[in-house]
C-alpha cells in the first residue's frame, strides 16, 4: 500500500470518528452516562494515534514529493479532526470529572436540530433480527445509530452487518426520534 492510500484510510477514519465522538460526548452529558463518556476518552486516544500516524506517513511521502509543501494541508486536516475530537473529550470530561450537568442541558439537547435519544427495542418490534444494512435507517427515517447497548455491553458505531435484538437500547441521533420510537415499539404520544 502506498503512503497516500494509508493516509487516506486514516483520515477517513478520523473524520468519521470525530463526528461520532461529538455525538457521543453530547449523549454522555444528556444521560449523565459515564460509560459513554469513557468511550469518548478511549476514542480520543485512538485519534491521537491516528494523528501521529498521518503525520509520520506524510513526512515519509514528502521525501518523494517534488513539492513537499503541498502535503501541508493533509497534516492540517488531521490536526483539525484531532481538535474536534479534543473538543468532544472536553464535553465528556464533565461527566468523567463527576460534575453534575446543569438541568437545562437536557432541555437544550431536546431542542437542537439533531435530536439525541435513547430508544429501547420492545418485544414484537419490526427492527428485531434485521441488520442495519437492511433497515437503512439514515435514508428511511433520517436516523443514525451511534451505539447499541446490549445488556451491560455497548457496541459503538455499529456497522452494516450488526443486527438489532430485542431489549437493545439504541442511542441515536435523528431529526425525528418519534419515528424510531414507533419502529422500536415504544409508546409515542401523538402530536396534536
Amino acid at each position: 500500500m502506498s503512503e497516500f492510500e494509508e493516509i487516506r484510510g486514516c483520515l477517513i477514519e478520523m473524520k468519521d470518528l470525530s463526528a461520532l465522538m461529538i455525538d457521543l460526548a453530547f449523549s454522555s452529558v444528556m444521560y449523565n452516562s459515564e460509560d459513554i463518556a469513557e468511550e469518548v476518552y478511549l476514542l480520543e486516544e485512538k485519534m491521537d494515534d491516528l494523528t501521529l500516524k498521518v503525520k509520520r506517513l506524510t513526512l515519509r511521502a514528502a521525501k518523494k514529493e517534488k513539492d513537499p509543501e503541498s502535503l501541508l494541508s493533509i497534516i492540517d486536516l488531521a490536526d483539525i479532526n484531532e481538535r474536534i475530537s479534543d473538543a468532544a473529550y472536553g464535553i465528556a470530561d464533565i461527566i468523567l470529572r463527576d460534575i453534575e450537568p446543569h438541568p437545562i442541558i437536557r432541555k437544550i439537547m431536546e431542542d437542537t436540530e439533531e435530536e439525541l435519544g435513547r430508544v429501547t427495542v420492545r418485544p414484537g418490534s419490526v427492527l428485531i433480527g434485521k441488520t442495519l444494512a437492511q433497515l437503512k435507517l439514515p435514508s428511511k427515517i433520517g436516523t443514525r445509530i451511534l451505539a447499541i447497548k446490549r445488556g451491560d455491553r455497548y457496541i459503538y458505531n455499529p456497522g452494516r452487518d450488526d443486527t438489532v435484538e430485542e431489549g437493545d437500547v439504541l442511542i441515536a441521533v435523528s431529526s425525528d426520534m418519534d419515528k424510531l420510537r414507533k419502529l422500536a415499539g415504544e409508546e409515542v404520544e401523538e402530536e396534536e
Binding site: 483520515l11 468519521d16 493533509i74 492540517d76 470530561d93 460534575i99 439533531e114 427515517i141 431529526s175
Partner: protein
C-alpha cells in the same frame, strides 16, 4: 465587529446554547462543503459565522455568570461553560478548514477523504419536473424523509445558507446537503424527477 451590533442574540442561556450548537455544526458542514467544491463564498460564510459564534459565546458567559446563586449552581454552570468552550473549539477548527479553502492549499487527497467518509456532502440539482419544486423545506422535511440535511441552496448567483423551514425549493436550485451516500443518491433521484412521490405521501 460593529456590524454585529444589529444582530439579535437569543435572550436566555438555553436558547443561546442551542444556537451555538446548531451554528457550530453548520460551520463544520459548510467548511467541508467549501473544501469539497472549492467554493470560496461558502468558506467566507464560515468565517462570518465564526464571529457570530464568538458573540454568542460572550453573551452566554455573561448570562451564565449572572445565574449562579450558590456554590452548587455555580458548579453546574461550569458544565455549561465547559461545553460552550468545546463548541467554540469546534467552530475554530471549522474556520481553519475554511481558511485553507480560501488560501487554495488543499491537497487532492482531501476531496477523496470527504467523499468517502460515512456522512459525506453532495450537490443535488433540482429539475423542473421534481416533486420538490414549490414545496417548503418544512413540507418536505428532507432530513427525516431522505436522511439528507440541507446545508445551503445555490439559486442563480445567490447562496442561501442554512435555509429555514419556510424556504421554497425552486426549479434549478442546487441543494448542498449532508448525508450518507445512499441518502444523497436517493434525494438526487427525487430531484431529477425519477422518483415522483415523497416517502411521507
Amino acid at each position: 465587529m460593529e456590524e454585529w451590533d444589529e444582530i439579535e442574540v437569543p435572550k436566555n442561556v438555553k436558547d443561546i446554547f442551542v444556537e451555538m450548537k446548531n451554528t457550530a455544526e453548520l460551520m463544520v458542514d459548510l467548511a467541508y462543503s467549501a473544501a469539497l467544491f472549492k467554493e470560496k463564498e461558502i468558506a467566507e460564510e464560515v468565517l462570518e459565522l465564526e464571529e457570530y459564534l464568538d458573540i454568542l459565546n460572550y453573551h452566554l458567559m455573561v448570562r451564565a455568570v449572572l445565574a449562579a446563586r450558590n456554590m452548587k449552581e455555580a458548579e453546574q454552570i461550569t458544565s455549561i461553560l465547559q461545553m460552550a468552550r468545546s463548541i467554540d473549539d469546534i467552530s475554530n477548527a471549522a474556520a481553519d478548514l475554511a481558511k485553507m479553502v480560501l488560501e487554495e492549499k488543499l491537497h487532492p487527497l482531501i476531496t477523496e477523504v470527504i467523499l468517502e467518509s460515512e456522512e459525506t456532502i453532495g450537490r443535488v440539482i433540482v429539475s423542473p419536473e421534481s416533486v420538490l419544486v414549490g414545496k417548503t423545506l418544512d413540507d418536505l422535511d428532507l432530513s427525516t424523509n431522505t436522511g439528507v440535511w440541507v446545508i445551503a441552496i445555490r439559486r442563480g448567483k445567490r447562496w442561501i445558507f442554512d435555509p429555514d423551514e419556510d424556504t421554497k425549493i425552486m426549479p434549478g436550485d442546487i441543494i448542498i446537503g449532508r448525508g450518507t451516500r445512499t441518502a444523497l443518491e436517493y434525494l438526487k433521484e427525487i430531484a431529477r424527477g425519477i422518483i415522483k412521490v415523497m416517502p411521507n405521501e
